[in-house]
Symmetry: C2
């Protein structure tokens, strides 16, 4: 089946203390989002890449692509008010009979190997959701109290989350709420069982300046 | 009140795919544990630093200190079979009337600023536990099912966890189980309310090779 990648990049710069949306901040001299696209291209240059951006950012992205001579083929589509609506818009460009990976634009350290594993597992199981165990103590806020929970029961969910596109599109069309934090949850609400695979720790979501510095340091060491 | 820091370093190299315990792996040319001690010394060079190590590692640590001309003053004491027993042993060297910070040896990116904030908050509230919100989707294993939970209710708990030493020592002495993953949980079991403060994202726990590379890259960028 053909592979699609939907790269969702709807973030603002709020938590970054920056006016530049975090997907456009420079990582080793290049916008974060370009690193992300490169990994999907590297995994398989036949993958159809679709970037979902807020309307206010699409022109800026085009300018960045020119400025950085960024030539990786991709489509751009406009997102909605929430992540749910952005993915819905993106899925309109994806045919039913294919596999689609949905990925956070601000996870540039994803590897070609993880992308491969996700597509492979999704082709067998209908979906594949990378997740990693929690290595820190975990607490749940319950009113004014932060109560202990057993961390060994919990998993941090990453992206790319890969799906049979037809099944995911039906689940999105049938969803009765837009308050999902990821696609696995929408898929599940559509009556499907999710299938977890091992994520990788370096596949961090860049949401703070510390994350950006960590990612930059990591990439610089890898390129030595 | 006088400040003590109990640095707990009981790990093996298992998850690292290394036979060298992770606290001794080289980070920017120096064992991880030395970086950790340096941050406490930098925060306040009057802090009494106690390192808790497995019996099998204490000689090796002494050799490393010689080899790296590591001169930061500290005591070494021998840990027990579990983290609980290691902290119990360490607390035997801490007087009641002081503040004690308990810290994972494999969190070398802790900052002097965070250490200060923890001691300060603990002096007012009896304890201070740094924690950060969860930025990724979270799932809980329930039998064969990985069910969604609302990530906005959850917090990842870091160290240093700072306490009024007398209160913590009583809680340790009264504990009826040794299956706690952190000191806040023991403190709470002793009847006290825990007080959370903002942790920092870069204060990662080094448990995998990817973590080590990320930490090394981060430190190298900071030192530019």
């Amino acid at each position: 089946m053909k592979h699609y990648a939907l790269i969702v990049a709807g973030g603002s710069g709020t938590r970054m203390g920056s006016t530049i949306p975090k997907q456009f901040l420079l990582l080793c001299g290049k916008p974060v989002l370009m690193h992300t696209l490169e990994q999907f291209y590297k995994a398989d240059n036949n993958t159809q890449i679709i970037v979902v951006l807020p309307a206010s950012q699409s022109e800026y992205w085009k300018e960045l692509c020119k400025q950085f001579s960024f030539t990786i083929p991709h489509q751009v589509t406009i997102g909605g008010d929430t992540r749910f609506h952005s993915v819905t818009n993106g899925l309109n460009l994806v045919p039913d009979y294919c596999l689609v990976a949905i990925h956070d634009g601000v996870r540039p350290l994803v590897t070609a190997a993880l992308i491969h594993t996700c597509f492979e597992a999704a082709s067998k199981n209908g979906c594949a959701i990378p997740a990693i165990p929690v290595h820190e103590s975990l607490r749940r806020k319950n009113g004014d109290v932060y109560e202990q929970v057993d961390r060994s029961d919990f998993y941090l969910v990453q992206t790319p989350q890969c799906f049979n596109a037809g099944m995911l599109k039906k689940a999105y069309a049938a969803a009765t709420s837009s308050h999902y934090t990821d696609d696995a949850s929408v898929f599940e609400a559509g009556g499907h069982t999710i299938y977890l695979i091992d994520g990788i720790k370096e596949n961090i979501k860049i949401t703070t300046p510390a994350d950006l510095t960590m990612a930059e340091g990591y990439l610089k060491l890898l390129s030595l």
